[in-house]
Structures are given as structure tokens and as C-alpha cells.
Symmetry: C2
């Protein structure tokens, strides 16, 4: 087994494992490529929820109680924006706002999202590489009974209530993987690709939809290992269970295995779903059962170690 | 005497009298035209310090203790911006930030500063008209030993320490008065023009430097009345006294009278400077002595009434 690990991550759940990997791997041994299809423009700011979740988790700034955003957050600007008649459906904390402001003005000055992300993570003392999946804008849109809507409107304003019929990633056909992502994929010393426990349809699919990415992973000489976002058949956060229903997918890890078929070599599922292991396991898919719930830094590091050990035991 | 009053205002001191005028005049009787030459672009936001001071004062949101910004302010975004390596020389409160965000995205979408100002003041329940002096960008720059620098850098970052040799208003030759300002000037029922107690060189001069404005005021059929920003020979806030020295001007209200010569009909000076009244008074300049220090809403309203009474007794 070589030296470098490439992790693909969405927001909250993915960010936790990304932070765990950063705890157990030195900076030169890890690249975290993050979904940017949840990004959106709001009140003149470019907001990148998944990059922010990963950044806050790695910097130890994430709010553990609330499960998203920055710890010790306040909401004074938001309250005032409401008084000024501005849109208030997307909660912007005062500390979080600083990130959006710092990012937005630099993007507007012409910096790439990769440059801005490197700068901001570096300023927060993060030594590991956090790279956007792409520097080109990709925007998730969902088809509901009300027609196509932007992801954040569905996810935050509508709280995932409208039944979802279809998902598309606007702009993805023109979006290439970012240079940092591509470089990690091409490394001679790449040892494994870890798909973090993020929503396969909403958080990982946009990454796989980048030109040639799914094929590159399927043909990859190193093992691709995914941690299922399901625990006891349900997602701990987010709309995954509801979404499996609405998209007509099987419930449980069968859906995850099916979704990643052809590119996945190893699936890590939670102990609470252990009885599914035998049905999932096949010639081309190894299955590891362990505790995947990450309550704090110790859990994150333990799961990261379990995943790396499982990857090391997997042929590519 | 007709019905309408046009007030010209800069920041803090001017904003207090503007608020006093709004206390004693119904909305249809007052237009407040505000200096915009202190405006600047910072971290991708368009910040209009004088419009904000006037807005906060009229909405009752101004911080009385600190003397600037919003009451009950917090500084979480600013602290985080510092951690992110962003410029921290200009203090941005969390509540204040909401104003800059709301303004900036609408300007970027193509709204005029007049439209945005009308909207934001209206949302905060301000019924009186607050108009920018111009919709075109005008930017004060000052010449110091280090060359020309932008006003906010001199005023905030350098705390007015470099000796000031010259002041210029970049962009003013291409800037017309805003439509709301022009309309107030042209009103048939205009009764007086009140120059609020703001710095004549830094806050009022940019307004007078707009094409034809100084001449329009000089030829005006209605009285032009100014409240001196000096109290006991000094400015209560800001660099005016230091600036009179550096520009080689006389100290005291003689400098104010000289500066507005040819357009001013009436000068209101503070009781503490009452002994200057006789020297200032001449055929073309009436002088009123009264208490011009505004400690709270009662003082503001009283001074507003004194000024309006003085104006009513002045020929144009």
C-alpha cells in the first residue's frame, strides 16, 4: 500500500470522517476533495456549505451540538437582515458570515475557488489539503411537483418536504475536476480513495458526475472504499431515507452498494446494519462491519483507522 | 416662509441634527442629503458611513455611548475575519454588516444608491427622505507626506495622524446631485437649507463640489443656515481642529464663516463660543448663539427648533 489517501466528502457526515482522517494521517498523506454542487449565491455572497463544514471540522470550529455551522455562533447580522427586509430563509451566523465575505470578495477579484479554499483553510491552521471538486460552478437542482428548484431552496427553505423526482447538476458538463483533485487522483503513491459517509445522490454524485471521474474511479488501480451514511437503515442527518423512497430505490445498504456498483471495492457499514453484510458481500465487493457513528474526535479517529485498515486489505 | 427644509449632512454630528429635524418636522417637510464621499469598497462591500450614521440616528439604532455604529453591536464576524487573515483596520459590527450586505448586493444588481437608501431607510421605519448627495461614486482623498491616500485609510487606519496638506474629491466632476437632492433644491415650497454641524472640509465640501451646487446655494432665494461643528473652539469629534491648523486656516468659527462665505446667510455657534459672535456678524451674515451640543433626543429637537426659528428670521 502506497502513501496517499484521497477522500471524497460532502457536508456534515463526510466532514466528520474527513476530520478523522486528518487526525490520523499527516498533511502530505491526505487530500480531501469536497462537493461544491450545494454552493449557491445569496445576498451577493458565494456560500459553499460543504467546504465550510469540512473546514470547520478540520479547524475544530464546528458546532457539535447544532451539528452544522460554527461553534459559539451568534445571529446579530441575520436579525438585522430580517429587519432590512432581506431574505431570511438561509441562516447566516455572524462568524460564518466572515467566511462567506472573505471568500466572495476574493472570488470576485478573480481568485479561483481552489486558491481561496487553500488560503482560508491555511489561515485557520489546517495543514491538510482541502480542495473543491471543481473550480467551475456546478449547481444541484431537484425536480419536485413544483418543477425544478435550486438545491438550497429545497434543502433549507422547503426543508426537503416536496417529494423529489429527479436530481441534476447544472453546469457539470462544463466542469473539470480542480487541479488539486486531479493531482491527487494521478499521484503515483495514491493508496486508496475513501468515499466519506455523505449522501450518495446529493453529495457524492456531483463529484462522480465530473467529466471522466466515475470511469477514472472504476478503472482505478487502488481500492475505492465507501463508508455508508446509513445507521440502522436510516441517515443520521439529512433526507437520504426519504429520498430512497421517492427515487424508488431499495432501502438500506443495498441502495448504497447498487449506487456505487462498478467503482466500489469495499463498503463499510454500521454494526447496527451488520445482518446485511452477507447479502451485500460478493466477489467484487468486500464488506466491513464496524461502529460508524462519530460522536467526537475519538470516534472519528477510530473510524478513520478502521477504514484505512480495510482499504489496506482490499485489492484495487 | 414656505414648507420644506433641505438639510445637508455628514456623519455623526450632522446625523444628530438631521435626527432632530426629523423629530420636529413631518416627513413631507424634510429632505436630508448626505455626503457620500466617505463611502468606500471594503471586502467586497460598499460602505457608506455617513448614510449609515444618518440612518441609524433616524431609526434610533445609533450607539450613543460609542458615538458611532449600531447599538447593542457585537464583533463576531470581525474577530473571525481577523483569523481568516482579512483586513481588520476598519471595524465592522455584526449588525452593521447586515446593512453593508443588503446595500452591496442590490447595488451590484444594478439598483442606484438612491433606490437602495430609500429601501433600507423605509424598511427601518424611517418616513423622512434620506438621499445620497449623488448616485455617482465620489471618493475623498487626502494628500499627506506619504502622498495621496483614500479617506478611510487616513481617517480610520491612520487615525488622522499624518499631516494633511490637501483634499480632493475623486470623481466629483462626473457626479451630478441625485434626483432626490435636485428635487428638494427645486421645490417651490423650499424654505431653508440647513448645513448640519459636520466637518466643512471633509463632509460638506464634497456636497458643495457637485456640479453647480455651490453656485446654486449662493444664488438661492431661501436662507442657507449652518450650525458650526465647533464647541469651545474645538470639534467634539473628528479631526477638524487639527485640520484647520494643517490647512493654515484661522481657528474657531472665523474659519467656518470664511469657508462658507458667499453662500451662507446665517451661522449658528455654540454658547461657549458666544464672544466670537460680534466679530462674525456682518451685513450678509446673521449669527445666532445657542447650545449646540446634542446629548440626547431632547437636545437634538431643541437645536432643530432653534435652527428653524433662526432660518425663519433670515432673508434669503
Amino acid at each position: 500500500m502506497g502513501e496517499h489517501i484521497l477522500a471524497l466528502s460532502g457536508g456534515v457526515g463526510g466532514a466528520k470522517l474527513a476530520a478523522g482522517l486528518a487526525q490520523v494521517l499527516s498533511p502530505e498523506r491526505l487530500t480531501i476533495a469536497v462537493n461544491t454542487a450545494d454552493d449557491f449565491e445569496h445576498l451577493g455572497l458565494t456560500i459553499c456549505p460543504d467546504i465550510d463544514s469540512v473546514t470547520y471540522a478540520l479547524a475544530g470550529l464546528n458546532d457539535v451540538q447544532r451539528g452544522w455551522g460554527v461553534a459559539d455562533e451568534s445571529w446579530q447580522a441575520m436579525e438585522m437582515l430580517g429587519r432590512l427586509g432581506e431574505a431570511d430563509w438561509f441562516n447566516l451566523g455572524d462568524r460564518d458570515l466572515a467566511m462567506h465575505i472573505a471568500r466572495s470578495w476574493r472570488l470576485r477579484e478573480g481568485a479561483s475557488l481552489s486558491d481561496v479554499t487553500a488560503r482560508l483553510t491555511n489561515e485557520l491552521g489546517i495543514a491538510h489539503r482541502v480542495v473543491p471538486m471543481s473550480d467551475a460552478p456546478v449547481r444541484t437542482q431537484v425536480l419536485t411537483g413544483d418543477g425544478w428548484m435550486d438545491f438550497q431552496r429545497y434543502f433549507v427553505a422547503e426543508q426537503c418536504e416536496p417529494a423529489l423526482r429527479e436530481i441534476r447538476f447544472a453546469g457539470v458538463s462544463d466542469a473539470a475536476p480542480s487541479e488539486g483533485f486531479r493531482q491527487a487522483l494521478d499521484r503515483e503513491d495514491l493508496a486508496a480513495i475513501v468515499i466519506c459517509p455523505s449522501n450518495p445522490y446529493l453529495s457524492v454524485d456531483p463529484i462522480l458526475a465530473l467529466g471522466g471521474l466515475r470511469e477514472a474511479l472504476a478503472d482505478c488501480r487502488v481500492p475505492v472504499i465507501a463508508v455508508s451514511p446509513l445507521v440502522g437503515g436510516k441517515s443520521l442527518k439529512g433526507p437520504l431515507s426519504k429520498l430512497l423512497d421517492e427515487l424508488g430505490k431499495p432501502q438500506g445498504n443495498a441502495a448504497i452498494a447498487e449506487h456505487y456498483r462498478g467503482l466500489l471495492d469495499h463498503l463499510v457499514i454500521d454494526t447496527s446494519d451488520g445482518e446485511q453484510a452477507e447479502d451485500l458481500r460478493c466477489e467484487t465487493l468486500a464488506v466491513t462491519v464496524c461502529d460508524t457513528v462519530m460522536r467526537g474526535p475519538e470516534d472519528r479517529a477510530r473510524l478513520a483507522r478502521d477504514v484505512l485498515a480495510a482499504a489496506a486489505a482490499t485489492p484495487g
